[in-house]
Symmetry: C2
Subunit: 308 residues, 2 copies
């Protein structure tokens, strides 16, 4: 029942020795979702001991090189390792020619289907539902079409209190109703479901926002998530550079976290000008104390919190 | 006056934690030639302290992913660093669509020209001549069109012996003739140039052969080079795999070095099955003792050898 983020790269476009470019893996109940795919991701997955073949789906925010140049190698390796399970790639329409080119040049002998699901929404929309998680995509504000992603653990079934089964003599049909979150109705009597049962845990949530300049709707779209990853390409003093390049500063990311009322803020996508991330973190914390500067191969585990 | 090879990657197609994929930089008299360009090459160049902007030309053996997937990122970085110097890429014709695709998708704002020089020769041909080096390309024997490269330092001008200038009272015209390697002729008298002058050093040479199965002409084409890099994807026991995939074994590479009469053999492009390279090296040395198993970030310096 894990909900664990592994950060594989934290650099922005210009390469650095100490950092890889954008790529993350979110593992929910053992299923792995790859978010962006910077160059060298396979090496980072090997180091983080994340099995490449276990990647369930891929989510690409946009097609800038520092977010996708690791994909051809990864897909080739999946092919060499004889993957047969289809791979969904949720990505903007601009990804289609990249995939077409890859398949025409490097697709020979691939035994698995790569299905591009194009993202075109103007506001958050569900793009994937599994047994354990639902994923929404929403537009960001970057130079080219770019999308953010919100991963939400699904509401768990209610647990039925054993003592109430005896007390009310609940039938199997009534127990099933409580599990679904429905009240039990007997003639005129209504027994509220939350007297008979309880939610075993609070669903966890993670939002990924890179690359983006700030915009009014974003805090609303990621409101209340447990963990928000928001890019901070620039320190506050370079706000003009950030605006010019449709990126965010530390304070802009922190303001988004604050307005959205998230529990934790994780920052990254650092400019190559700055080697130490202390200043990024310190600037964010002036507005939003629960900020962590992401580092390559850092793992953020969101533990299960009992709802009772 | 250096002639130095830096090996950036020694793995074959399947990624490994300890090794990058094929890429090398040969530096001749301070000019840097990039040979193949596996994924992650920028990181390796940073670690090896090879300035990306100093790359003079690129030589691509073939377009398999493990030899080219680092190129889009490298070209993008050169663009961000505002390179203006044109970049020649010597590569098979199959590279043309890759370059076209890269330029159409990621070429916006590049301030330098990328010139693809297509390789189509059936036997060694000179493809580049600079003041210090001449480069030849020749076909290899792989699954797809693939080329090897031979870098030869150019013959130096003769040095004129000072004592002979006085002894014969050589004129400026006669001195120039000796420098060019011409005899001095005075009426019926011929004074041989090598009595009057001497070659200051022996030109150095390096040949790159990856990926290839053995074939009869290859030892002749790389005959006598100071340093031969020859792939050894497989140990001898996997000769059937090597044949199937148009690769070479240790013994095949060593036999080529022996027949070609090269001074040193450098091997690499190791299969991911084998973690230690001792066995590759040991097998080669049974036939060709001057074998070294290349390691990532290894540097091989060919020192200047005086001809006298």
């Amino acid at each position: 029942m894990n909900f664990t983020l592994t950060v594989l790269g934290t650099a922005s476009a210009m390469p650095m020795t100490g950092r890889y470019q954008s790529a993350q893996v979110l593992s929910v109940h053992g299923r792995s979702f790859l978010i962006d795919c910077g160059e060298g991701i396979q090496r980072q997955m090997l180091r983080a001991r994340i099995p490449m073949m276990k990647i369930d789906s891929v989510f690409l925010s946009h097609i800038h090189g520092d977010h996708v140049f690791g994909l051809p190698g990864l897909l080739s390796t999946m092919g060499m390792k004889a993957r047969t399970q289809p791979l969904n790639v949720f990505a903007p329409p601009s990804f289609a020619p990249l995939l077409k080119f890859f398949l025409s040049y490097y697709g020979e002998g691939l035994a698995f289907e790569i299905r591009h699901v194009p993202l075109t929404m103007k506001a958050p929309e569900v793009i994937l539902q599994t047994k354990s998680v639902e994923v929404l995509a929403f537009p960001l504000n970057h130079k080219i079409e770019t999308f953010g992603f919100l991963f939400r653990e699904r509401e768990p079934q209610m647990n039925v209190r054993k003592e109430k089964i005896a007390e009310y003599g609940l039938s199997l049909t009534e127990i099933a109703a409580v599990k679904r979150g429905d009240d039990v109705v007997r003639g005129g009597q209504v027994i509220p479901f939350n007297e008979l049962g309880y939610k075993p845990f609070e669903p966890r949530s993670y939002a990924y926002c890179s690359d983006t300049a700030p915009f009014a709707a974003l805090p609303r779209w990621v409101a209340g998530v447990d963990l928000l990853y928001h890019e901070t390409t620039y320190l506050d003093e370079l706000a003009d550079q950030a605006a010019l390049r449709h990126h965010s500063t530390t304070l802009q990311a922190a303001r988004c976290a604050l307005e959205a009322g998230v529990k934790q803020l994780l920052i990254g996508h650092y400019s190559s000008r700055v080697k130490e991330t202390d200043r990024y973190e310190a600037e964010c914390r002036t507005l939003f104390p629960a900020t962590t500067a992401a580092q390559d191969l850092m793992t953020v585990d969101l533990p299960l919190v009992k709802a009772e």
